[in-house]
Amino acid sequence: MVKVAVLDYGIGNLRSAQKAFEISGAEARLTADKDLVLASDGVVLPGVGNFGKCAKALTDSGVREIALLAVENDLPFLGICVGMQLLYETSDESPEAKGLGLFAGKVKVLENAPRVPQMQWNQIQLEGDSPLLRGLEDEWFYFVHSYAAEQNQLESTTIATCTYGSPIIAAVQKGLLFGTQFHPEKSGKAGRLLLQNFLKICERTV
C-alpha cells in the first residue's frame, strides 16, 4: 500500500485530508516526524486560513525543514490550498512571512473577482498533460480562497486554471512537486481521481 505522510503542523482539521487519501487507497498518516515523513512514498502539505499563520506554524512545528528535506529527497509532494501557496516565496496576505520558496514568485489577492473569497465549485481547464490531472479536463473542484499564485514569468509551472473574474492558477507542477489551489479532498469523485493520480505518482507507476 502506498504510504502518504500528511504533514501535521498544528493547523485546523487535517482529518478530512487524511481520510480522503485512505479512501483513495493509501495508508495515510498525520505526522510531523522526520523519519516517518522521509520513509513515506509521498508527502501532502494541507493548509487553511491565513498564509502568515500557516508559515509560522510550519516553522514552529519544525515541519518547514522536514518539508524541504522531503522535496530534496525527491519525494512526490502535494500542497493543497494554502499548502500550495506556501510553496511560493511570499504572499501579499502576510508580506513578512516566508513560504518555502520552492516555486519562484508570490501569491497575491484575487483580481477582478466577482466576490472575494472565491467559495464555490469551479471548473478547471488543463494546460499541458500533467499526470496529476489525467482524466480531469473540465472537471469541477471545490475552491475556498482569497489569494492565488501569480503567473510565473520564469518557468511554466501552471497545469490548470479556472476562471473567476480573471483566469486563476488552479494547479501547478515542477517535477514531482505539485500544488492545487482547490481542495481535492472535498471535491467528490473528481477529487478522489486526482488523489489516486497522485498515489500513482507516489508509486512511480506513471
Partner: protein, 253 residues
C-alpha cells in the same frame, strides 16, 4: 455562481429523519444510518451535504456530534450543519470536527453579532432564516415573530454570513413546490446569495427555482430532503436537470 442542489439529512438521536412542517410529532425515520445515506448522496454527485441536528435545534445543545464527525470524515465533499448553534464555542466545535459551514438560525435573530464573531475567525457561516407566511420563526419553529423574513435577511447582509438559507415552514416536507412569490421578493431586496429550502416535489419545481430571476439575481441553490427519501425525485436527476437548465439560461443572458 452555479446552482447547487443540497441533499438534506436531518438527525434525531443519530438517525436520519424527516419532519412534516417542522412538527416533531410527525417525524418519519428514513433508515438508521445517516453515514451510508450521506455516502450515497456523495456518490450520486452531490457537491454539498446539508445536515440538521434536530435534537440541537430543539434543545440548543449539540446531540449528534459523533454522527456529524463521522459524516465529515467519511465524505470527500463539504458539509454544512445547522440546528441549535447558539454560541461561537458550539460553532467552533463543529469546525473542529470537520464541518465546512455552519448555519446559524435562531441565534442570528436574537444575537446578530454572533455571526460576525464566528465569521471573523475565517470560518464559513450561513444564516438560516425560517419563515411562516413570510414572518420569521425561531426556536425549532415553535415561536413566530413579527419580523419579516426579508427584513431579517437585509439586516444580516453585513453580518459576515456568506449566504442565507430561506425555509418556508408551510412548504417544508410537503413536496408542493417552493414559495416563489416570497423568494422573488427576497431576491429583489437582499444582496447576499440565497438558497431556498422547503417544498421541492417535482422537476417542475426545480425548473421554477433555477429560472427564477429578479433584477439579474438568481437563487444559489435548493435544499431538498423528503422528495429524495420518498423517491419522488432522484438526486442525480435533480443535479443533471439543474446543470442543463443553467446552461440554457446562461445562453439566454
Amino acid at each position: 455562481m452555479s446552482f447547487v442542489v443540497y441533499p438534506a439529512i436531518d438527525l434525531i438521536d443519530g438517525k436520519c429523519v424527516r419532519l412534516y412542517q417542522g412538527d416533531y410529532a410527525r417525524e418519519t425515520i428514513y433508515g438508521d444510518d445517516p453515514i451510508s445515506q450521506a455516502l450515497k448522496f456523495e456518490s450520486d454527485g452531490a457537491e454539498w451535504i446539508h445536515l440538521v441536528d434536530l435534537d440541537a435545534a430543539r434543545t440548543g445543545s449539540l446531540e449528534n456530534t459523533t454522527v456529524i464527525k463521522d459524516i465529515c470524515e467519511e465524505l470527500s465533499i463539504p458539509v454544512q450543519v445547522g440546528g441549535g448553534i447558539r454560541s461561537s464555542d458550539t460553532a467552533k466545535l463543529l469546525y473542529d470536527i470537520g464541518v465546512e459551514r455552519t448555519v446559524i438560525g435562531t441565534a442570528a435573530v436574537e444575537d446578530p453579532e454572533l455571526v460576525l464573531r464566528i465569521a471573523e475567525h475565517g470560518h464559513r457561516v450561513a444564516v438560516g432564516v425560517d419563515g411562516k407566511d413570510g414572518y420569521v420563526a425561531t426556536r425549532g419553529w415553535k415561536v413566530t415573530t413579527d419580523l419579516k423574513v426579508v427584513d431579517l435577511l437585509k439586516r444580516l447582509e453585513m453580518s459576515g454570513a456568506e449566504v442565507g438559507i430561506v425555509t418556508e415552514i408551510k412548504r417544508d416536507g410537503t413536496m408542493e413546490g417552493s414559495d416563489l412569490e416570497g423568494l422573488s421578493q427576497i431576491l429583489r431586496d437582499v444582496n447576499i446569495p440565497v438558497i431556498a429550502s422547503g417544498g421541492l416535489g417535482s422537476l417542475e419545481d426545480l425548473h421554477d427555482l433555477v429560472r427564477l430571476q429578479v433584477n439579474g439575481s438568481r437563487l444559489a441553490g435548493v435544499i431538498t430532503g423528503r422528495a429524495l427519501y420518498e423517491k419522488r425525485l432522484t438526486l442525480k436527476g435533480l443535479i443533471v436537470t439543474a446543470e442543463g437548465l443553467e446552461h440554457v439560461e446562461s445562453e439566454h443572458d
